[in-house]
Symmetry: C2
Subunit: 105 residues, 2 copies
Amino acid sequence: MATAFAVLAEPHRRRILDLLLERPRAVGELVEELGLTQPGTSKHLKVLREAGLVRMRPDAQRRVYELRMEPLAEVHEWLEPYRRMWARRLDALERHLDAMPDLDD
Amino acid sequence: MATAFAVLAEPHRRRILDLLLERPRAVGELVEELGLTQPGTSKHLKVLREAGLVRMRPDAQRRVYELRMEPLAEVHEWLEPYRRMWARRLDALERHLDAMPDLDD
DNA sequence: GGTGTTTATTCCATTGTAGATATATGTCCT
DNA sequence: AGGACATATATCTACAATGGAATAAACACC
């Protein structure tokens, strides 16, 4: 199973996830929104499916796709130490400013 | 400038960022850690540089690379609505459990 | 059973990417 | 200036990914 990072590298696939975040949608809807051909859209959906980022539910001749967020945890967790570092820097800046003499009077 | 998502799709590049999160490093150090050839490492660094994810400071004949986290904000922000959705689901689950009769006695 | 509708699969062409080797550039030291 | 060292760039190759067109498969409806 491909890593979530590789899957998210493709803009159309991020767009698909954004659309599915609002609500589940059939392939046809996604085709319209993306401006891709139907086969192209289906192919991206296959990649997303194999990465566990979407789930498919048949509805007669249609296939309704819905979001599965679990694999996004990988990205969230990778980002974690960077967020921490970012916060630490903000703290340091704040302490720095607090320790500085007032220059504006 | 390439999107941060595309840059992060490559595992070696994520590894480089993780190493630079600890401290700035010269190319040689990164080559050792990655187990890649020097040119290969330099090429990844170029991609990272062009995406604004690292910064280069010459030090004699060495080039010391350090992390720049700003472009990671794009990823963080894209993830935001998913985090919100995730939190909402946890809330719903919690409310659901609270409303359930105790089964364990 | 045939037809229209919806989606998946296959095939092809194009392009992009990662890696390796060889080479160039620039810096230090003597 | 010359040699050693560190890094970047160029070139080549192999492979993967994207997108389109054509085709196949599944289902609904008459």
